[in-house]
Symmetry: D2
């Protein structure tokens, strides 16, 4: 788990020019006890007129972190699709960077659920938001190794 | 109600260069029976690796439309803050444009709730997502008109 | 669709003595345009200390109505399990009866989503709550008709 | 902290005969690190046809525990009203007792948010559900101490 090495492994490492998510300055970080964690800077490119991270963009960060947590780590899935997303916004994220930490609560055969907590590291780790997401998720069938190779 | 006339009235009409939300090609449209409605194109700048609008960015669109519905129209609020956002994703939005339609369900003194439905106009108006949002909302106190009269 | 005929077809028609749900005085009603609808009286057995239907019990009603809507009607499922439930409470239900109306938004192969609206009929159909539920759902495999029977 | 001593202080200690919530055999328990916790038995009076606690009744338990956590403990509120409730059901609760543990995430001037986790103690503390609730909440104005002192 590192914030540099795995280019190409994750769906959001390479993005077309001008992609909305490319405007979000992120890096993967290691957080003990978490299944995945990403930091994002609070830049003019992601805030609303009050100077806090726009709620939908924070939801985007939460969605990314939760999804990657299912694609990496133990018993990884090969594909995930968000079915349900619930975010409670406790306070505005105005300083940054924000840290989004994913905890996989259930890894089922066809669906999975993930909780994500977001804090503002620059504001004494103020608790910003809690997300709960349910994903449709599948693992590839084991590759057929019988073809003589 | 138009997509051109009210520049400056709404918080997302002018954005700093490179803002994530500026990557979302949107325009306000008029939909009978709706409190507000916005169309967004399905461009390479907002899709995931499956070619569908990324879930968090769809949540961002839903948040924008719901918030503007409270700032415009009857009994408008002066400020809104998203407290809770729930989005159920029914299907992927792959063709576009998508149409997000807001219906204000409650306009309270200090909070308000809005439902948003999203369809993919290019896919025979396929139902894409349903959002339910609760906002903290306030109206300015009526201006004191007694000064100097 | 009736409130009398299908005893035994629906899981909540017969309940053990003293079951919590038996305290909720309900009846199925027909509502044009809805996939299922149930009325419930506002009795002392379901209200909180403010005299409004307790929020969790309203969520229980919402869950029942949504689940039955998937077991009845077109393309019925054979089994459903609630995965995600979100309820926004707009106002208290104090008069009654309340009417909960289910609208199935998606009937997928393995999951389904349902929206439920609740109004207080005795209070000029005041809008009480909106529920969004996602279910894991399955249909029985078609019976094998090839065995010569 | 006990399930007997504070009769009258909490809204669910005395219920009219036959109240739906009276069918839920509950007791308050002390859990280190939690803001409030309640155990409930898995009896025939609260299960569905699969033998698991009915989802809405589990939501009812979650709502109760979250609400009491705000009425007790530090900086207690005098009145709370559930505005938004989201529950993700991870697995069925079939053995019991279940333990619902509330964690207050934000105590604001007019609203508060609470997370509740439910485990099945009889099934090796299997994780059953996660709830996130937002309440409108108020404290009484401080009593006027100027009268005659």
């Amino acid at each position: 788990m590192s914030d540099t090495a795995l280019a190409g492994d994750r769906p959001w490492d390479s993005l077309p020019n001008g992609h909305a998510i490319a405007s979000m300055h992120r890096k993967t970080v290691e957080v003990p006890g978490a299944d995945w964690a990403v930091q994002m800077d609070v830049t003019p490119q992601v805030v609303n007129s009050s100077g806090a991270v726009q709620g939908g963009l924070l939801a985007t960060l939460i969605d990314l972190v939760a999804g990657i947590a299912l694609l990496e780590g133990p018993e990884p899935y090969d594909q995930t699709t968000t079915m349900d997303m619930h975010v409670t916004f406790h306070r505005g994220a105005c300083v940054g960077p924000v840290l989004a930490t994913a905890h996989v609560l259930r890894r089922g055969g066809r669906s999975a659920s993930v909780r994500v907590e977001v804090v503002d590291l620059g504001a004494d780790s103020l608790h910003i938001a809690t997300g709960m997401l349910t994903f449709a998720a599948r693992r590839s069938p084991p590759p057929d190794r019988g073809e003589g190779r």
